[in-house]
């Protein structure tokens, strides 16, 4: 079956990256362990994120038209890759379910308390399924359209908070009261995995990128922008609520938005904020979903669109089953997911892949060298060779 090539432009990649990183990170808030210095931790995390995305480009430059699974195949053959892919699909779908659950919890807590969360997740996943049935291009364009609104609303929120006088910048002090260690610890143990490590899902997106020349630059800008927004929102939360209150909030941004009150007219923005958050969650959930679909496409050699609707129902189902209650959900997110899922899938496997690629390419290179009597191989011809495979 012929699998069609889809195109994603650089600007679309940028918006996807930003939405993806904001996604559920802004729902539950990140870097809370660093208390007052969460924003610093996020900035540091952003540096890690830039490192991750640069590491990705190692693969992207070598295998411009291949997604992660195909690179695996290049190294270890199709049979073992299918197993790896299957595990990855489970990972992606599980994370996607968690993202949807995050949002569902937010909705059920803040907006529609009496409606069953199943309803929210079902409608949400149907929409995701519909959009991915239309294709990743459509998702990218949708994200492109909504991103300006996202920015606009964040800006407005900041302005409104400022105007309603709920900001007390002194709450940021003491900066680094406990020293740098909590910041570094938060950045490396928490933020490196969530949200930055989750960019592993982009390993299937880059293959569809039209203009790979500037992709590194654009990616870095994307990660940087998202980091800035996250950091600014962390600052907003701290200076409006206070670090203590942020730590006690399930959804800090929501609590922050509740503070807005200007002249008895512009107030009660929390419902609106939820809907803005929804866009980010939507993109993030869909991207994990898409990564899973791409894996299925690889295994079954069928266009991924066929899987969109059934698998969306799986996500809907498991976003509900994933945890019994909110505490379970949070505990799982803190205790289990980073160690048993994020670490192996974001760090171990990609690193193994990296070593394999190095080894394999060296092997090819030496083979070549043997054939051509030690003539110098230029890098470009070498890449071409690998592409052919």
């Amino acid at each position: 079956m012929k699998i069609e090539k889809e195109n994603i432009s650089l600007s679309q990649l940028l918006t996807l990256l930003i939405n993806f990183l904001l996604g559920s990170a802004i729902v539950v808030g990140v870097g809370g362990d660093a208390k007052n210095d969460a924003w610093l931790a996020i900035l540091l995390g952003g540096l890690i994120g830039i490192g991750i995305i640069t590491f990705f480009h190692f693969f992207i430059y070598r295998f411009p038209d291949k997604n992660m699974f195909q690179v695996f195949e290049f190294c270890i053959g199709r049979k073992i890759t299918i197993v790896c892919t299957l595990i990855y699909i489970v990972y992606y779908l599980y994370i996607s379910s968690r993202v949807i659950r995050d949002f569902g919890e937010l909705m059920a807590t803040a907006i529609l308390p009496n409606s069953p969360i199943e309803m929210m997740s079902l409608t949400f996943c149907l929409l995701m399924g519909y959009i991915l049935y239309l294709g990743i291009e459509v998702l990218a364009r949708t994200s492109e359209i909504f991103t300006p609104y996202l920015f606009g609303f964040f800006l407005l929120l900041a302005i409104f908070l400022f105007a309603s006088g709920s900001l007390e910048f002194k709450q940021l002090q003491p900066i680094l009261g406990e020293g740098v260690m909590p910041v570094i610890k938060t950045a490396f143990t928490e933020l490196a995995f969530f949200p930055y490590g989750e960019m592993i899902a982009f390993s299937v997106i880059y293959a569809s990128l039209t203009n790979k020349k500037y992709s590194l630059r654009v990616s870095i800008v994307g990660v940087g922008t998202a980091t800035l927004i996250l950091s600014v929102s962390a600052i907003l939360m701290i200076v409006s609520l206070g670090a203590d209150s942020v730590a006690r909030s399930n959804f800090p941004l929501l609590s922050t938005a509740r503070l807005v009150s200007i002249g008895n007219f512009i107030e009660r923005l929390d419902a609106l904020v939820v809907f803005i958050i929804m866009l980010g969650v939507f993109i993030k959930g869909s991207l994990f979903f898409y990564a899973g679909l791409k894996g299925l496409e690889y295994i079954f050699k069928l266009p991924y669109r066929y899987f969109a609707i059934p698998i969306s129902m799986i996500i809907s189902l498991f976003s509900i089953l994933v945890s019994v209650d909110f505490a379970d959900h949070i505990q799982e997110g803190i205790k289990m997911v980073p160690y048993y899922l994020h670490f192996p899938f974001q760090v171990v496997l990609p690193l193994i892949l990296f070593l394999l690629v190095m080894w394999k390419q060296r092997k090819i290179k030496s083979k070549r060298k043997g054939e051509q009597d030690g003539t110098e191989q230029t890098k470009s011809s070498f890449i071409k060779e690998t592409n052919k495979n």
């Binding site: 059934p310 969306s312 799986i314 809907s316 289990m336």
Partner: protein
């Protein structure tokens, strides 16, 4: 194929969640499964079930369609050849 993928993924994800529940709640495997299966109550249960059935049905339909289109394209090739 789609149906197969659907069922396979449901099973794999259930196992994953069960494993997590086992270590979090210190359940045995069967307790964990029970926990998953009985966590939904009243209307939520029906909606969840509805979603799952919907997914299953749609995957069967899609499979059927793929099958049919394959058959047709095969037939076309034969007539052409």
């Amino acid at each position: 194929m789609v149906t197969f993928a659907f069922i396979l993924l449901v099973i794999l994800l259930t196992i994953l969640i069960a494993l997590f529940d086992m270590s979090l709640f210190e359940f045995s495997f069967f307790e964990a499964m029970k926990n998953i299966l009985y966590s939904e109550i009243a209307i939520g249960r029906y909606i969840a079930l509805f979603g799952a059935v919907l997914g299953l049905i749609s995957s069967v339909i899609i499979d059927f369609r793929i099958h049919r289109s394959k058959k047709e394209s095969n037939a076309d090739e034969r007539t052409q050849g």
